[in-house]
Amino acid sequence: MANLLLTTRCVRSCPYCFARNEMAQSPQSDTVSWENIIYLADFLVRSGEHHIALLGGEPTLHPHFVDIVLYLLERGFHITVFTSGVMSDERLEDVADHVTRIPPDRIQFVCNLNDPEQTPAPEGELRRVEAFLTALGPWTTPGFNIYRTDFSLDFIFHNITRFGMQGLLRIGLASPISQQENLYIKSEDMKNVIDRLYSYRALFEKLHVKPNLDCGFPLCYFSDEQLGWFFRMSGGANFGCGPAIDIKPNMDVYSCFPLSGIHKRSLFEFDSLQDVAAFYIDLHDRIRQDFPGVFAQCATCTYRHDGRCSGGGVCHLLRDAAHETPNPCMSL
């Protein structure tokens, strides 16, 4: 699936933000044009791809957000919108007025929720998120980025019940970025994170919420009991690492935010989404030849060898390698 950044502007400043490096380098006026929207739609159709994710920044800040959504639906796409839920009352009314007429199987929001106690937000932000969830809860899946080991999920379960959100929780590990400091989960803390996540199993089960692990979780850090539970609850689990195909408003492309500084290309250089994916899979493979995984044992791990685990995220590998070799990507 391709991720299109409608704009690089964002209304939040999360302490773990792994897009901030890329966003900081983009002009404030960086919003995708209709010409590029149509180019990408054609590109995806030609690639046989019918799903597109819209993100940012905050994608709803794009002045034509609703029009773009309606256009992509008319082109036959299924849409996932990654949002903070923070938007003006006027924009929310506009979005809700149109989206609530669309079946949730055609468009879905993933609302990235921060714990109001652990990640305090400016006054009024929480009210706006609640307004968003009130209007669009049934179209929305909660998303949560873990950036500290003492995280809490209670507020998310509360929101799922309160706002009738979809019974799926997208759980991501905050990833390190180069050049700037951000809060993220270090390799040695992943076991604690997994144990804490598992401690919420009773609530997951009681509220019928499926845990959906995002990329970067190492398979070997799960006990058999934990693995069994994750598989029973969600029907599968992901221990891989992308490459996610992120496309900027100007059609620059890279393989996920933390790696945006590495081998950025233009979508115009490729003929299909498969070509883009092949390019970045090859890049990841080359990185992993030098840095097999986040743990020393990854080099000889059966799971990694057989492709069932990627040995953590490439972003972690590069972060760790940077401590040994300045700019380890230069040789790629």
């Binding site: 209709w34 010409e35 149509i38 739609a41 054609d42 590109f43 159709v45 030609r46 034509h64 609703v66 029009d67 309606l70 256009y71 639906l73 008319e74 082109r75 149109h98």
Partner: protein
């Protein structure tokens, strides 16, 4: 010899007096679209198009079910917001409607791309104001070489289809405004060679002669080769590398400029490439 198509107002008495010519009928009101089409077809004449010019955006036009099957050329100033037209897109796509938009408004170039990508044929209308030639070149490339099937964007599609290095490409046909192929009638039946001549009251005849008698006046002969005057007048278009495909259509309106010339040259390059590649799939159906 094929008779010229007549472009005439919706006037029953006038239409009844026309024999054997194909008809493009101009109507003033939206409800007249269905009435005019019915009248012309029921009299056994061949209806080429119903032309209507409105002053509201496409998004504000109440698309009617009974327009189905009627060829309609809708001249509108703009598309309007996509959100306001989104619900009408499937209905418009099912019609035989071509949406004509003024080229000088940059938003209309984008609108053409949007509509075309959704299967709605559109056409740019060049007035006296200067369009954004660079954006126009991009749109032309999309129209001719777009990577996935889309509806025609005229006049580019027509030019790509009809272009021949051995003949002039008379793309005024997409506007029913090509001297020699179309004649324009006013409500009294007087005949002009072009829509501009009709507006200025420059007639070449007081009526259409019977189909067995070709219109062969001096004014007519001069009118269909009016482009030659650009050479005699030492007009800048005479040396333009895009002449073969433009034939002064831009410059003759006092608008010859570097951007115009470059655009026409680009267009020539593109259509020659299109021809060289000998695409087998139809780019789009012919407007006529």
């Amino acid at each position: 010899m094929k008779l010229p198509t007549l472009v005439c107002p919706y006037n029953r008495a006038l239409l009844e007096g026309i024999d054997r010519h194909d008809i493009v009928v101009r109507v003033e009101q939206l409800p007249d679209i269905t009435r005019a089409a019915h009248d012309i077809r029921s009299s056994g004449k061949n209806l080429i198009d119903v032309v209507i010019e409105v002053d509201q955006p496409l998004s504000d036009i109440p698309i009617q079910e009974d327009w189905h099957g009627i060829p309609i050329a809708l001249f509108t100033p703009e598309m309007g917001r996509f959100r306001d037209i989104a619900h009408q897109v499937p209905r418009i796509r099912d019609l035989r409607m071509h949406v004509y938009l003024p080229a000088e408004n940059p938003e209309n170039l984008t609108a053409c791309r949007i509509l075309s990508s959704l299967g709605i044929t559109c056409c740019l209308v060049f007035g006296t104001a200067e369009p954004d030639w660079t954006a126009l070149s991009d749109l032309m490339a999309y129209a001719v070489f777009g990577p996935v099937p889309h509806a025609p964007i005229e006049p580019f599609g027509y030019i790509a289809r009809q272009y021949s290095p051995d003949a002039y490409t008379l793309w005024g046909s997409v506007y029913y405004d090509e001297p020699g192929e179309f004649l324009h009638l006013d409500g009294d039946g007087r005949v002009a060679l072009s829509s501009a001549a009709l507006l200025s009251g420059s007639y070449i005849a007081d009526h259409i002669p019977p189909a067995s008698e070709p219109l062969d006046t001096e004014d007519y002969r001069q009118g269909i080769t009016a482009w030659r005057h650009l050479f005699l007048a030492d007009h800048p278009c005479r040396a333009c590398e895009g002449w073969r495909i433009c034939m002064g259509r831009f410059g003759a309106q006092g608008r010859h400029a570097p951007g115009c010339s470059r655009f026409a040259a680009d267009m020539l390059t593109e259509v020659e490439q299109y021809r060289t590649e000998n695409k087998t799939e139809p780019l789009q159906e012919d407007l006529s």
